[in-house]
Amino acid sequence: MVESESREAIIPRVLVTKIGLDGHDRGSRIVAAWLRDSGMEVIYTAPWQKIDTVVKLTQEEDVDVLAVSSLATDHLLIPKLMAALREAGYQHVKVVVGGIVPDADEAILLDSGVSRVFHTGSTKEEVVQRISEFAEEARKAPAVVTFD
């Protein structure tokens, strides 16, 4: 192969999704556009994804970061999502949550393994930079499989 690259240098892939019941997508649309405009590849879904569907998507699309938008109370499901990802062997994937998350719940989410909660009012710069750092971290994790 002529064009060899290391895994850390390649284009980050991010899954932007919503789980649970709510369907407001202004936030997730804006974040998806931000990430695209910063050179990332975004897999964007409809709202109301089931937890096992998100795990399946994470697997099939080989994403580095999973960004879940929650504006009502659907973030309450996130600990279950984290457990499902771990069970499927996807602990290297970084999970971030954006939207309206009360302080007490934020602590629970971080405890369950979420890397970061972005509250309303977060800036493009902050969101893009952190997500690209998380993508890089995810790429540095031990490979799920090696091809020899």
Binding site: V16, G20, L21, D22, G23, H24, D25, R26, S28, R29, I30, A32, A33, R36, V42, Y44, T45, A46, P47, W48, A72, T73, D74, L76, L77, K80, I100, P102, D103, A104, H119, T120, G121, T123, K124, E125
Partner: protein, 553 residues
């Protein structure tokens, strides 16, 4: 007006202004209209009074839809409330009535919006944002002891209107005649749900269209005091449409629904008086007032010109409005009380018929009781202390506001023309045109915030150190209380006459498959027969297709 003195002085002022403020920046509002530093009779002069304004309750309707406006009757204080269980809801409503609320409204749990019963959802999500109302029995407990025939009822009840069916079933059980009920189906606008609030979008477009028309026809005969159609601009503005776009798109939606009614053989003057509107009020104060005044004018004109309405009631632009949660901040949350007050003022000067003011903690969680009480008090302060209802259209005649109203009207008309050209609202949303417009505007606004061009106190300006103690949040519902609600629901399902439920659902399916039966009538009958909302909606999804929004990134 050819007053030489004005010309001379105007010129002199312009020179002075430029000298003192040589690097004055261009300012524009959210609808991208450039705002000048000063407006004068050159922009709008009172010779245009009869063309542009007229008198309240008369064409062109700019100043208000009734001769007396808020002097005669202030707006309905329609605070949306939804607490986890029917009992908690009932207690809160009684408290609000004691505080002077003259209308009641109901927000269901998000699971209800999705058409799911309490036994179909992860219990952790139940009752977190509204009341879990799945059956006629739940509704009876919500409304226990409340004189439903004496209160205007607002239901956040998307198609297929199962909550209204529960209210009708409850009334029937009480022996209260349907003809005496008044209220509004606040969330009947499936187009806005398809475009911008997907949580409310349950049944595929064509099926939603059919059920909406069947409901209008059913209520016209059986419950004529009910407003079946509320066209909702709120979701589109919340999703990012500018105020002018939100108004234009909402009026285009109204045109679509009116055309659909005409196609079903209804006379314009038979249904237009029952159309109501529902808007967001952002903090862009003058722009919002101009939006409402311009919208009123355009609606009055197009009901006559397009639909040949003769009844003056057909041309009245009755609207409910809600202060915008998008403008509220997580940082320094108490500041939101000031924001809501300003948004509320814009609603009043805009001539609203009904208003909901948000709790200051909307950006933190579902509203706490404290925040809900402050938001009601805010309305009372504006109404009773600040003298905001003393004069009808109190800002009318302002050079700025009249110019802005005309400019907003131009933009609104341009949007309507664009949607007309695309074949009407139904087609324009099916192919994603509207979603594209809204997404672009949302991004453009966000860029203004990111660049600091649009300042938000505490977010990109005047930040102070974060004080988490200011963020009180509503505790999540007591799991035991929710468990009891689930048990009640399961017992209700067990104890009902299963064959009757089965028969009622079969009738519903048959109606959905037929061309001439009224689907809504069967929904009401199924509810009376104790079918749950989850059962009814899943039946209709099976027949008409699941409501998948056109998701665009």
């Amino acid at each position: 007006m050819t007053d030489k003195r004005i010309d001379n002085k105007h010129k002199q002022w312009q020179d002075d202004y430029k000298k003192m403020l040589p690097d004055d920046k261009v300012r524009s509002n959210r609808s991208d209209i450039k705002i000048k530093p000063l407006y004068t009779p050159e922009d709008w002069d009172s010779n245009r009074y009869m063309d542009d304004l007229g008198f309240p309750g008369q064409g062109p309707m700019t100043r208000g839809i009734y001769p007396t406006m808020h002097r005669g009757q202030t707006w309905s204080q329609r605070q949306l409330i939804g607490l986890a269980t029917p009992e908690l809801y009932n207690a809160r409503v009684k408290q609000m009535i004691a505080m002077g609320a003259n209308a009641l409204s109901m927000i269901p749990c998000n699971s209800v919006y999705r058409g799911l019963d309490v036994d179909e959802v992860d219990p952790i999500l139940l009752g977190t944002c509204g009341v879990t109302v799945n059956t006629v029995d739940d509704m009876a407990r919500c409304l226990d002891g409340i004189p439903i025939d004496k209160m205007s009822i607002g239901l956040n009840d998307p198609i297929p209107f199962t909550m209204l069916a529960q209210v009708l079933a409850h009334a029937k059980n009480l022996g209260a005649p349907w003809k005496k009920l008044t209220g509004t189906s606040n969330q009947s606008d499936y187009i806005s749900h398809f475009v911008a609030n997907h949580m409310f979008y349950r049944i595929a477009l064509k099926g939603s269209r059919r059920i909406q028309m069947d409901q209008i026809i059913f209520l016209k005969e059986h419950c004529p005091g009910w407003n079946p159609v509320s066209i909702v601009g709120q979701h589109m503005q919340q999703a990012g449409a500018t105020p002018a776009e939100a108004m234009g798109l909402t009026l285009s939606t109204a045109i679509q629904y009116a055309k659909d009614c005409v196609e079903r053989g209804l006379e314009p003057d038979a249904f237009l008086p029952r159309f109501t509107f529902f808007f967001d009020i952002s903090i862009s104060f003058f722009e919002e007032i101009a939006k409402f005044r311009a919208g009123r004018r355009v609606w009055a004109r197009l009901t006559k010109e397009r639909f040949g309405a003769k009844d003056p009631r057909s041309s009245r632009f009755k609207f409910h409005c809600q202060t915008s949660g998008v403008d509220l901040t997580r940082a320094q949350p108490l500041n939101n009380i000031a924001r809501v007050a300003i948004q509320g003022m814009a609603g009043i000067f805009g001539g609203c018929q009904s208003m909901h003011t948000d709790g200051y903690d909307e950006a933190l969680s579902c509203p706490t009781e404290e925040a809900a009480l402050i938001s009601v008090a805010t309305q009372n302060i504006l109404k009773d202390e600040a003298g905001m209802t003393d004069v009808i259209d109190a800002l009318g005649g302002s050079y700025y506001l009249e110019t802005l109203t005309n400019q907003m009207e131009e933009q609104i008309e341009a949007i309507i023309a664009k949607i007309d050209e695309a074949g009407g609202m139904f087609e324009a949303v099916e192919n994603g045109l509207v979603q594209g417009i809204i997404g672009e505007s949302a991004l453009a606004f966000q860029e203004k915030v990111d660049s600091g061009e649009h300042k938000i106190v505490g977010v990109n300006a005047y930040q102070i150190e974060d004080d988490p103690s200011l963020r009180k949040t509503q505790p999540w519902p007591d799991p035991d209380v929710m468990k009891r609600q689930i048990e009640l629901f399961c017992r209700f399902k067990e104890e009902r006459d299963q064959t009757e439920v089965q028969r009622a659902l079969e009738d519903l399916v048959a109606a959905a498959r037929s061309d001439d039966q009224n689907v809504y009538e069967k929904i009401v009958q199924a509810t009376i027969s104790k079918a749950t909302q989850g059962e009814i909606i899943s039946c209709l999804r099976e027949e008409f297709g699941f409501g998948h929004p056109l998701v665009m990134a």
